[in-house]
């Protein structure tokens, strides 16, 4: 297969004008004549938002505290870079190791300077050919993709011999893990590892084991993998994620090691949060300060960095510094309810810690007023809960945490954050019990409803689940069970436009909350089975 680069459109990102000129000439030599350029992260994000590119060529070092790896993560997360677009990173000899072993968002290939036009041409052809071969899978991935179809396409491609079989297996492993088919993922990774040792399959196997609840085995494999591949960032990320639940001090050490391999604002944030949990406030301050100050583009920072910095300052008695950070936070982000509530909650926390209860109360009232007006993300809501504990409004804090935990009872990250809030208030044991009870209550609600439905009491099940689904709009399991109960009713008792519309609304609600939920395909299949022609179509 020969790919004519003349028909393609590229984007070259480099902050050094001479390099842009040189690489552009080399790209033209290789046949890529239609090539836009971007000088920095802001321009790159604008171009990627406005145009569709076949190929992005990006220098690792982008100045302003930004690098190509962070840019790649950002544009993939924001869905500005479709999986069908090829991404080639250009690096110096001293930074290639950070690019080539990148974790979740690896470039399609990297090229180490200096290189000739001929080498560039060969590499471009190679990655474009691979992209083309994998296009049938990629087109079912991304924001509006259908993972079941992507998996079926993987199997179809694997049925024929191809030089890209291994790449397909790698994609298939990720898809199986995303759709919680961990047993199949484990079999896939073990199959690869029986042939030879390779880091991606080692990490994949550990993730599959962890997802299946075998966390001890997962940790053992990750430690062994890191001994052999001390540069493999995905192994650090997975290990830190596992340790966070049981040993925050060890998790902090693992993130510190990963930061020695490759700098990243995301990992500084993660280190800061762990250090805060571990009451290692000076280390937390250092990590959050790096996140805030290193990134002069502003694209990689989050509210969490400023909130964490303010909290680590005040814990060390630096009240004025903490208040300045809260103020600065308002200068760096667009004005949203989340920002207003987060600023007010952190300000309240700072005042509480500094002993100014009147100021703490005033700020917390502002945060709670915003929460009344707008639905907030779980992180912001939990920040308000923490401020409530600090202000002595413990019942209010518990009410907020309960609401968040009921909505997100399947989300381990949110539960870990909620546990941190209890721990910061000195209520670690109470928190563990409170969250466990909440989780069990949600599981019981679903189980009871399913039991009612199975016993033929479909009406009662529907009433129970609808009441919960209307209250807990981010709770996927409840929304999907409500939809399934409604659809079963239609299936058994005949067409009912109202119930069908309600089922449609609950499935849509679940898609917004988590489009990768394991139960979603079942609900969608049932909807499609019972929906008559002309009924509203599901947007997945």
């Amino acid at each position: 297969m020969t790919i004519d680069l003349r028909e393609l459109r590229g984007l070259l990102i480099d902050d050094v004008a001479e390099m842009r000129t040189t690489v552009r000439i080399q790209l033209a030599d290789a046949g890529l004549e239609r090539c836009d350029t971007a000088r920095n992260v802001k321009e790159a994000v604008e171009r990627l938002g406005a145009n569709r590119y076949d190929l992005v060529i990006c220098d690792y070092n982008l100045g302003q505290g930004a690098d190509g790896q962070q840019l790649l993560e950002l544009v993939r997360r924001r869905q500005l870079l479709p999986p069908t677009t090829a991404f080639l990173m250009i690096t110096g000899e001293t930074s290639y190791e950070q690019v080539s072993t990148a974790a979740e968002y690896a470039p399609d290939d990297y090229l180490i300077k200096p290189f000739t036009s001929g080498t560039l041409h060969t590499r471009l052809e190679r990655i474009l050919e691979k992209k083309e071969a994998l296009r049938p899978v990629y087109q079912h991935m991304g924001e509006r993709g259908d993972r079941a179809k992507a998996l079926a396409t993987c199997d179809a491609l694997l049925a024929q011999p191809s030089r890209y079989s291994l790449d397909v297996l790698r994609l298939k492993g990720d898809l199986l893990l995303q759709t919680r088919r961990q047993d199949e993922a484990l079999a896939l990774y073990e199959g690869v590892l029986r042939q030879r040792a390779t880091p991606w399959a080692e990490v994949g196997r550990a993730r599959a084991l962890a997802a299946a609840g075998r966390e001890d085995r997962a940790r053992e494999h990750l430690n062994a993998a890191l001994a052999a591949y001390p540069n493999y960032l995905a192994a650090y990320d997975s290990l830190a994620g596992l340790l966070k639940k049981t040993d925050a001090a060890a998790a902090q050490q693992v993130v510190e090691q990963a930061l020695k391999v490759a700098p990243s604002t995301r990992r500084q944030r993660s280190l800061g949060a762990l250090a805060l949990d571990n009451r290692d406030f000076s280390r937390a301050e250092e990590a959050f300060r790096r996140a805030v100050e290193k990134d002069r583009t502003g694209f990689f920072k989050s509210h969490d960095d400023y909130a964490g910095l303010a909290k680590s300052c005040v814990e060390q008695g630096k009240t004025q510094e903490a208040l300045s950070v809260v103020k600065e936070m308002g200068d760096h982000f667009s004005r949203t309810p989340e920002l207003a509530a987060r600023q007010a909650a952190v300000e309240s926390l700072v005042h509480s810690r500094a002993g100014d209860s009147a100021a703490a109360k005033a700020a917390l009232d502002r945060a709670l007023a915003v929460q009344q007006e707008a639905g907030l993300d779980p992180t912001t809501a939990l920040e308000i809960a923490q401020a409530c504990f600090a202000d002595g409004r413990n019942d209010e804090a518990r009410r907020i945490i309960q609401a968040v935990a009921e909505e997100h009872y399947e989300d381990d990250t949110v539960f870990a954050q909620a546990q941190s809030v209890f721990a910061a208030a000195g209520l670690k044991e109470e928190g563990a019990i409170f969250l466990e009870v909440t989780k069990k209550r949600m599981i019981k609600l679903n189980n009871d409803a399913v039991a009612l439905a199975k016993a033929g009491q479909l009406e009662q099940a529907i009433t129970m689940l609808q009441e919960a689904a209307d209250r807990l709009t981010s709770n996927c399991q409840v929304s999907l069970n409500a939809a399934i109960a409604l659809l079963m009713h239609i299936h058994k008792r005949g067409p009912d436009a109202d119930r069908l519309a309600q089922a449609h609304r609950y499935i849509s609600q679940a898609i917004v909350a988590n489009r990768d939920h394991a139960k979603l395909p079942e609900a969608v299949a049932l909807y499609r089975k019972v929906a008559p022609e002309g009924a509203p179509v599901l947007d997945i």
Binding site: E93, T198, H221
Partner: protein, 211 residues
Amino acid sequence: MDAFVAAAIHDAKNSLNALGAWLDEAGRECPSPALHQAQTLAARLSAQLVELLVLYRAGEGTLRLAIDDHDVADFLADTMAELELTDHRDIAFTCDPGTGTAIGHWAFDAYLVRFALLDALRNALRHARSRVALTVALEPGGGMRFTVTDDGTGFPGDVLDGGVGEMAPGSSGLGIAFARLIAARHATPGGRHGHVELANANGASFSLVLP
């Protein structure tokens, strides 16, 4: 090695790369054998400086390998593309990328292993009488072996014994020290490590075995 020396080597390497780019441009405008020779020399010097820097980083404890899967046939093709075979028209060079295709993929640091192999290949081309070969094969007990052979006079005895002493006029032993380091730094979670094997059999035989 002193940090200042390392920094100076780093700068010198970058300057050599810039010089290489200028020579490339000059060669395009007005091709000449002398310019080509100068370019080849600049590339070789730059490669040696990279090897020195890698050895320095290993000594400092900051060398980290980037192990990931690579298509072995592509790797062989890329390695060949960097070898200046036109300067050795009297040598018959063989390398069958098909053997790489049969292996498929292997996990290793392609950048550093390529440096080690290119060094061994240049060495072989310099010492061969008429032929040089690069082969790749799977090891019976696990692992993958790259072998560079030539029909020259073979390695001196002290080099075969593991020394890095004077190999021949113009050779510092840097290449072999570098290859041994890179091979040994390749490991598997099962505890296997890479290594280098040198032998003389109708010429020199250099093998880099990856775990």
